[in-house]
Symmetry: C3
Subunit: 340 residues, 3 copies
């Protein structure tokens, strides 16, 4: 694609050759002559002098310390947003085509939409439904009575248990398990445990993305619910009967124990843990590795091994760091008093 075309798409202004041929995007440190790159964070401006990229997208205000006449600049309002737009443009079309692979096993009474793709070694249980344009990759196992909406993308080696319901435009990455039994046992008098039947399912809203090797357990009765627009990273654990509100984001290795409810637009950072049977209100930010053992009813940032409002946590951290000084002051007083 010619740079002039790209400038048209991004509504940008070229300084330099309009005819440069661009075939892809790259990082400013490593982009080649047929790749376009960008500078958004000033920390990366230093690479401008040495980059081999075919073009650099910059802000309208960008002033290089030394102009490079060999590389055209493309000036736009927001270089980052423009670059993301370009990535979408260059994103390799998924070329698997449509259709159902020869090896896939589709049980009786399934409803298959138009323009779908079912990969090799996929097993689709009876009475399941796959909506228009949905793609299910290789080695996935989909249970019976599962409903998957339109334009979903299920990567390889995913397991979806019986009766789970997925809405539209959902992406699920490899190795993820949807609908496994909740961890529910009743202690017996002899110290052993008896399994409490897990009879519910998992219900996932529109536009949800779920990373790789994540687990979402089905409810004991009723549904574990993932709201519209929720984004879940890799290796996240979501226990039975949990409910996650719309547009909440959960980073890798976080865990949410049984029956807890997370509000809308929350951000839960990596390795955070939330105990069972509590509620987190809307617009709460939980820091990395934070442990939440009580309900949170006020929006804000919470940090610490035992979750606290972040300001309070930082003050406590400072006090602990000051303990050495405190001890010295105490010692000084003791000596002083000794003399008195």
């Amino acid at each position: 694609m010619k740079l002039s075309e790209i400038a048209g798409i991004l509504d940008g202004d070229i300084e330099g050759s309009r005819d440069t041929e661009i075939t892809g995007a790259g990082k400013i440190e490593s982009a080649k002559g047929d790749q376009i790159t960008f500078i958004s964070n000033p920390l990366y401006e230093k690479y401008y002098e040495t980059t081999s990229a075919g073009c650099v997208i910059v802000s309208r205000e960008f002033e290089p310390s030394k102009v490079r006449s060999d590389i055209p600049l493309l000036r736009v309002d927001d270089p980052y947003i423009a670059f993301v737009k370009l990535l979408e443009l260059f994103e390799e079309e998924n070329e698997e085509g449509e259709g159902i692979s020869d090896s896939a096993v589709i049980d009786e009474n399934c409803e298959l939409g138009e323009g779908i793709y079912i990969g090799e070694f996929v097993r689709l249980g009876r009475e399941s439904r796959v909506g228009d344009g949905t793609r299910i990759y290789h080695n996935c196992t989909i249970g019976k009575g599962v409903v998957i909406g339109k334009n979903c993308l299920v990567y390889s080696n995913v397991s979806i248990y019986d009766n789970c319901r997925l809405a539209d435009n959902i992406i699920i990455h490899s190795g993820t398990v949807i609908g496994s039994d909740g961890f529910g046992f009743a202690k017996q008098s002899d110290g052993s445990y008896k399994k409490i039947p897990q009879t519910g399912n998992v219900v996932i809203g529109n536009n949800v993305e779920i990373g790789s090797n994540t687990s979402i357990d089905r409810a004991t009765i009723g549904s574990t619910v993932i709201g519209n627009g929720v984004k879940i990273d890799n290796q996240v654990q979501i226990a039975h009967n949990v409910e996650i509100g719309e547009n909440t984001v959960i980073a890798a290795q976080a865990g949410i124990a049984g029956s807890s409810r997370i509000g809308k637009r929350c951000m839960i950072a990596g390795q955070a843990g939330i105990v069972g049977h509590i509620s987190i209100c809307d617009d709460v930010i939980i820091g990395a590795s934070v442990g939440v053992s009580k309900s949170i009813t006020e929006p804000g940032i919470y940090t610490g091994y035992r979750a606290k409002p972040s300001k309070e946590d930082l003050r406590q951290e400072v006090r602990i760091r000051n303990l050495e000084a405190l001890e010295k002051r105490l010692k000084a007083i003791e000596e002083r008093i000794q003399k008195i």
Copy 2:
């Protein structure tokens, strides 16, 4: 099923219509007219006034603030236990039937019991044994020389490495890996690592349940051992040569490092971590996200970022919270002394 039949099974007494037809179970907030529900926790009594359930199981002592003539009550000794019994009753029969799917690949010299089910795209290595009534779902890979006992349930996409041995009545959820190599390397003089061959296996006792995406490594030599009745949640890591005692319960995302031994009837909460080469005695409770770096020889509850007996940990937590007051008292003294 008529309510009168259910009352017979649960040994309960009906107040209201004995002829109500019940087809399933539901949560009191959302149960429909053909579903039965229960009240065990008093917090849920408030839903009695608004539920649409076809019947509510309650204790013999339950006294509603306002009697609803439209919904029969079923009085039993323990509503929770009665409800679990009903869930078992209503639990959908697994209807996959018996047999070996056409696509499964069974290597030579396998011994297959009666009434088993082997799903699509399962590969069973040579000289493996599958006991009567065991079901192995789709896309599982079972190595050679593996022994699986009777009435086990192995969900889809599970990998079991060579020579592992599973007893009877075991459930393994999707994505779990049994018998991968332990993490053992010998540091070389040039800073690189040389793999120490992992030649052992994993041995799992009767009545064990293992969640999804869990990893249990095989021993370097000998066996990693999971005792009878152990329940392991999702995304748990059990390293090589670990031994877990009978009826111990391990919640999601907990990790146990190499060669550690866990006693019987322990409870290890979510995200807890136990370092290698230590012992935890019987009847120990480890809290969520607790780090255990030394052996524990006394039963009890242990909490904290660095595990301590829980009472001690809580006292320490209070002292830290009181640091602000402590600083003020110190300051007051300093000023007082200044004056003296």
Copy 3:
């Protein structure tokens, strides 16, 4: 194999019968008469009196309290190294043979090396390459344009996304996902998130081992890079654009957030977490469950919920433990002053 042969291979001296027949290796507590065992750690010397092993490898200096005439000793310079060498010797040859299983689906334009093995239900995407001697086990999904070098071992149920590049002598355990999308979203004004296309790949160096159920995300642009000789345990999360230096070791359930760079020869213990966009220099040791939120520029050991140099962390821990005494001293002073 006769003990005399083993002695020759290990350059050791036999005390006792040279003709003992050895067929395998075992732990000293449980080894049988045809198995060889070893004593390296003095803690295990006590088992010498009771072992049933066919031979015990010991150091040249080992002096048993009571000589057992029924069991030959094999004296070597370093019993542990000798034993590991033997494990390699006894390690069961992988007997799957060579070839491509009937059920595997190999797309067009793949290049397959000599002496490879492709297991059942493997799908290899178009234009992928598999080097000489590499073995890919059952139910793996390999994307298109993937390059796998020589003598690699990919266990069952592994997913490798399009265009990832693996060098030689790499081992990947079951359930691991290489190349899933990074967790990158742009917040929209209505509170929802828009996916940022992830267009890069994962590049893995020589002699890398990766455990089970681990996730390594591909870069947004460019590559997520795992250096030569890196060893990664089970359930590790490596986010997009991370770079790991040569011979670094990462234990189970650790997580490294996006764009962080880890130096060479680092050791990252289990459940540790490293936030995004920071650098860890060479030769750093991060303790178990430690949280690292700032770059580390000095080699050494770092511990604590909030990573600190280990000595500093321990001093702080002692100060917190001394808080009770501190409070008492303060109280004493207050009473003293009261009297003054």
